[in-house]
Amino acid sequence: MRKVITYILLILSALVLFFPILYALSASFMQPQEIYAGKFLPEDVSLDAYKTAFERIPLLHYLNVSFWMSFFVMIGQLIVCSLAAYAFVFIPFKGRNVIFFSFLATMLIPWEATIIPNYLTVLNLGWVDTYMGLTFPFFALPFGVFLLRQHFMTIPASIWESAQMDGCSRFRFYLQFALPLSKSSLSALAIYGFLTTWNKYLWPLLVTNDDTVRTVQIGLKMLIANESSSSWNLVMAAVITILIPTLLLLFVGMKYIKEGLTAGAVKG
């Protein structure tokens, strides 16, 4: 009995949380007039909005660019953050903690405050309209370093000691012990990195001028009119299309995110 009530409550809250997405889906099948009239369900399910959205902006192409941008950032973050975290945990050097904490402190600086200096750097490097410009500034992520450092710290010191006794080099230990033992944290970081990059708008807008390297979020903004009314069914059709990859990733990766984010929580 108690279980039934729990599940009813869970289903209800799931519906409440999921409502915006369900409504977006429903609105993408409606006519603009129906949306403005405040209806919840379309009278006729029409796929016109999807057709028009795909015609109006090169949505597939933008999806492709967004995918590669997010993928490269994900890979870059995994490599850079794991190497940095490894150094912070397994290589003793003077001022290690000071460096680590000042690194963490940069999390306090909002990304928006550094966006223009970063842009100027990218501009001077000639990386405008390139994947390098889109992805490179995101490779070093303090949150990622922190997450992995916490996880690496849970690896028992005895493993490290016996590995050294057997003549294992630092780099081999990184590849063969540290990384495989932190799969859950690495997957969590990978998913986190992919999703946040997928949702970026301002940075891709700044560093690209060419349609060949523009992302879905810019495409979405192109559909939203500013002074005149927007065709919300088009916008919602595009939103649903853009959501699909991220939702898939979440469904697949939810388990790892949960494991990974709590894995390092016990030992601080």
Binding site: Y36, G38, Y119
Partner: protein
Amino acid sequence: MKKYWKSFIVLTALVLVLAACGGGNSNNGKSNGANNSSGDKTEIDFWHAMSGDNGDALEVIVDQFNEQSDSVHVNAIYQGSYDDSLTKLRAVGGSSEAPAIVQVFEIGTKYMSESGFITPMQEFIDEDDFDVSNLEENILNYYTIDDQLYSMPFNTSNAVMFYNKDLFEEAGLDPDNPPATFSEMTEAAEKLSEVTDYGFTMATIGWFVEQLLANSNALYLDNDNGRSGDATEALVNSEEGYAIFEWLDEMNKAGTFTNYGSAWDDPRGPFFAGQVAMYFDSTANVSSVIDNSAHEVGTAFLPSIDGMDPNGLVVGGASLWITNQVDEEEQDAAWEFIKFVTQADIQAEWAASTGYFPITPDAYDEPVLQEVYEEFPQFLTAVDQLEETTPNEASNGALTEVLPEARKIIETALGEMYEGKDPKEALDEAAEKITDALK
């Protein structure tokens, strides 16, 4: 063990490949960019902020230009909202990424004219003996500073009142004779709120207050709205300003007015659904209001203070600027494009597909625009309102770099008043804050 080495090498290789294709792209980017000419045509970049249907309409015009011109090719690049695009322009100033033409909203006029990024439009006009007399006077007045035209108006609009004719009939009001003064509005709103939720609403957008002040022949800033010298003081808390705030406050307290929010789209849904009977919106939106409403839609002039003839409104929208960040050949190419878009037939097409005003009155004679006006006679109200505007300092509009900030301040004051603050107090504080911002 080998497995991990392998995966590491693969990943590193991937990053290197990414770097390599990054490099390749950057070369492509440059050759596509503003600096080189492809074939015989000079290529120029045009940054704009037109999205949705308006973005499509702009693409059509740019394509038309590229097809008919043998010497110039324009790349239209969407740069997000007006704010986004201005931010980006500030960052690229002085670099090879700067565009030749940029579209900037009307309240960025003062900033742009003093930014050092631009070549005043007047120079091209004088050099080419371009005749500006066939452009709409009221629109030119806004963009003219010290008798110089700094930019070419492109998409212009002003505010108009939309009302629900069906609800007017239901409430016993004459649907062909909409209220024209503040007290008539108050009365109508009271009657209308008996047949529906609310009589009147206005999105909390500072622009509408600017329009109402102009319509009351009241100045926003001293020194003739900042046009005869730099503005030093806000004049919004004048008799007229108080009248506007008190009028809104009175209806709000009586429950015949409501505040749906501060976004353009906020009052539209309720109006389309017939929950509110009258609201202000941009003239750029006329056709979509008619399309989306289930009821018959009327348009009317913005109301004026009792016993006062409407003075007319300030034009809003945006203008095109030629930058001095590219060489002269490209600036001349930019001028070619700007001349093209001011032609009557192009302006008519643009106005017909967007709802903005054409900047040249000749465009009204073009069949494409006449057809639209026949289908939607509601457009004519907006056109009449523009033409009946008395050109003076009030209707030329305020000119200051801090206008975007002033707008936010006015919006905050409106919000505070709707929450119960005394209208005079709210407006006095707003005026003080704007004056501070001017210093």
